[in-house]
């Protein structure tokens, strides 16, 4: 006790460090959540964050517009070309719709009920990002008050973003596809018999492996969710950027670039 009194600052600091270590340990054992206290803090903070984030989004767009005018023009031209292509694609797709309807009828005959997309969708804005790996885990401004629950699916127009990890009244934490603990079963859009598992690599990319080493997958192949696990079938995950055979593990490994542009992500949709 005498030693503690003589080294007051050191003792207090050591006490705080030990308490914080216990916090980290508790949080780790709880699977990385922030607990009841975290939910309380997050509820208060999100009330302040919401208007500021909305302002940030608007102001950010304005700044970007000023400094990137030439690139905006270039992007506009690209979008015009893309629009023309999409129109053509739309015509092709409507021709295929009849065929799809017929196949749908056929699937009912086999008592197969694919994901109907009838689940409720909630639009949300990203209000804060994780400190360490920016787009690994982030917080959105919609929570249990809007019916969002753990493991709800988060997407945007480009594809799969991730799943809801934790919810509070007016906020929810989302674990993105870039998170290494978020494993997703996939199939290749070009050939749906090719399946595998992917997860984030902690470096902003997605890596994974194929179930069948003999399956032919090539750079540029688009991966979609297979429907196994919590993710419904057919959501775009990303494009294959490299394919390697790992001799040690005897697995065909792939690297995938997400179709979602995480760096400019602001709004998301949450599907139940």
């Amino acid at each position: 006790m005498k030693w503690i009194r003589q080294h007051k600052i050191f003792s207090v600091t050591a006490g705080i460090v030990i308490a914080l270590c216990l916090f980290v340990l508790g949080s780790y054992l709880a699977g990385g959540g922030s607990g009841v206290l975290g939910r309380g803090v997050q509820s208060v903070v999100s009330a302040i964050e919401k208007p500021l984030s909305a302002f940030t989004g608007g102001a950010g767009d304005t700044f970007r517009g000023i400094f990137r005018f030439s690139s905006v023009l270039e992007e506009n031209e690209k979008l015009k070309e893309e629009n023309a292509m999409l129109r053509q694609e739309n015509i092709d797709l409507s021709m295929k719709r009849d065929e799809l309807d017929r196949l749908g009828e056929l699937s009912k005959a086999f008592d197969f009920e694919p994901y109907s997309g009838q689940g409720k969708a909630v639009a949300a804005r990203i209000i804060s990002l994780n400190n360490s790996n920016t787009y690994d885990v982030f917080t959105i401004d919609a929570g249990s008050s809007k019916g969002i629950e753990k493991n709800d699916i988060v997407v945007d127009g480009e594809g799969l973003i991730g799943k809801v990890k934790e919810t509070g009244g007016n906020w929810a934490k989302v674990v993105s596809v870039l998170n290494e603990n978020n494993s997703i079963s996939f199939k290749v859009q070009r050939k749906t018999s090719i399946t595998g598992i992917v997860a984030g690599d902690g470096k902003g990319k997605i890596t994974g492996y194929l179930m069948d080493n003999k399956a032919t997958i090539v750079k540029g192949d688009v991966l979609v969710t297979s429907g196994i696990g919590i993710y419904p079938e057919g959501i775009r995950i990303g494009k294959v950027t490299s394919v390697d055979y790992n001799d040690d593990m005897q697995l065909k490994e792939i690297t995938v670039k997400s179709t979602v542009k995480f760096t400019s992500l602001q709004k998301v949709a949450v599907f139940k």
Binding site: F23, V24, S34, G38, Q42, T56, T139
Partner: protein, 166 residues
């Protein structure tokens, strides 16, 4: 510096960090405002670590709101505060370059510590990836800290161990 001012400064940084910081986001790199303030207060003010300690609470709240695990940032802040106090003993606090060096070193050590702790908790992020982004984090933190420094240097009083202390 008073506790009241320190609380206000950290609260302001906390709100900014969670909301408006995205405005200056470059490829996912943003300045760590709490870290910058902790370094600045510890460096500039006599017994600054007493006020910078509020940064530990701020970091804990940030972890609660956005972090994967709660408490790592706070331990990091304590390490940086201790390191800054030790460095200040052998550095000239009046020199702006000293402040830049302390901020750069602080940023690097903090991020390295964060990576080590996360690696112990099975985070697979490679050290090369962390190191690759360090120059950007350092540059951002130095820029932000320097702006703060220019404001706060007027409020700082001479330290007992400064040159020409009277």
């Amino acid at each position: 510096m008073s506790y009241k001012k320190a609380v206000l400064l950290f609260a302001f940084a906390f709100i900014l960090q969670l909301s408006m910081i995205d405005l200056i986001n470059i490829n996912g790199v943003v300045p760590d405002l709490t870290l910058c303030i902790v370094i600045m207060i510890t460096f500039l003010f006599q017994d600054g670590f007493r006020y910078a300690a509020i940064g530990i609470i701020s970091a804990l709240l940030l972890d609660l709101c956005t972090g994967q695990y709660v408490g790592i940032s706070s331990i990091g802040m304590i390490i940086i505060m201790a390191g800054t106090v030790l460095l200040c003993r052998s550095m000239n606090r009046e020199n702006k370059l000293s402040f830049v060096i302390v901020t750069a070193a602080g940023t690097f050590i903090y991020n390295l510590f964060y990576w080590i702790f996360m690696a112990m908790l099975n985070d697979p992020t490679s050290i090369l990836y962390v190191l690759m982004y360090q120059p950007f984090y350092m540059a951002y933190n130095i820029a932000f800290s320097f702006i703060l420094y220019l404001f706060m240097i007027k409020k700082a009083v001479r330290h007992r161990n400064d040159r020409y202390f009277v």
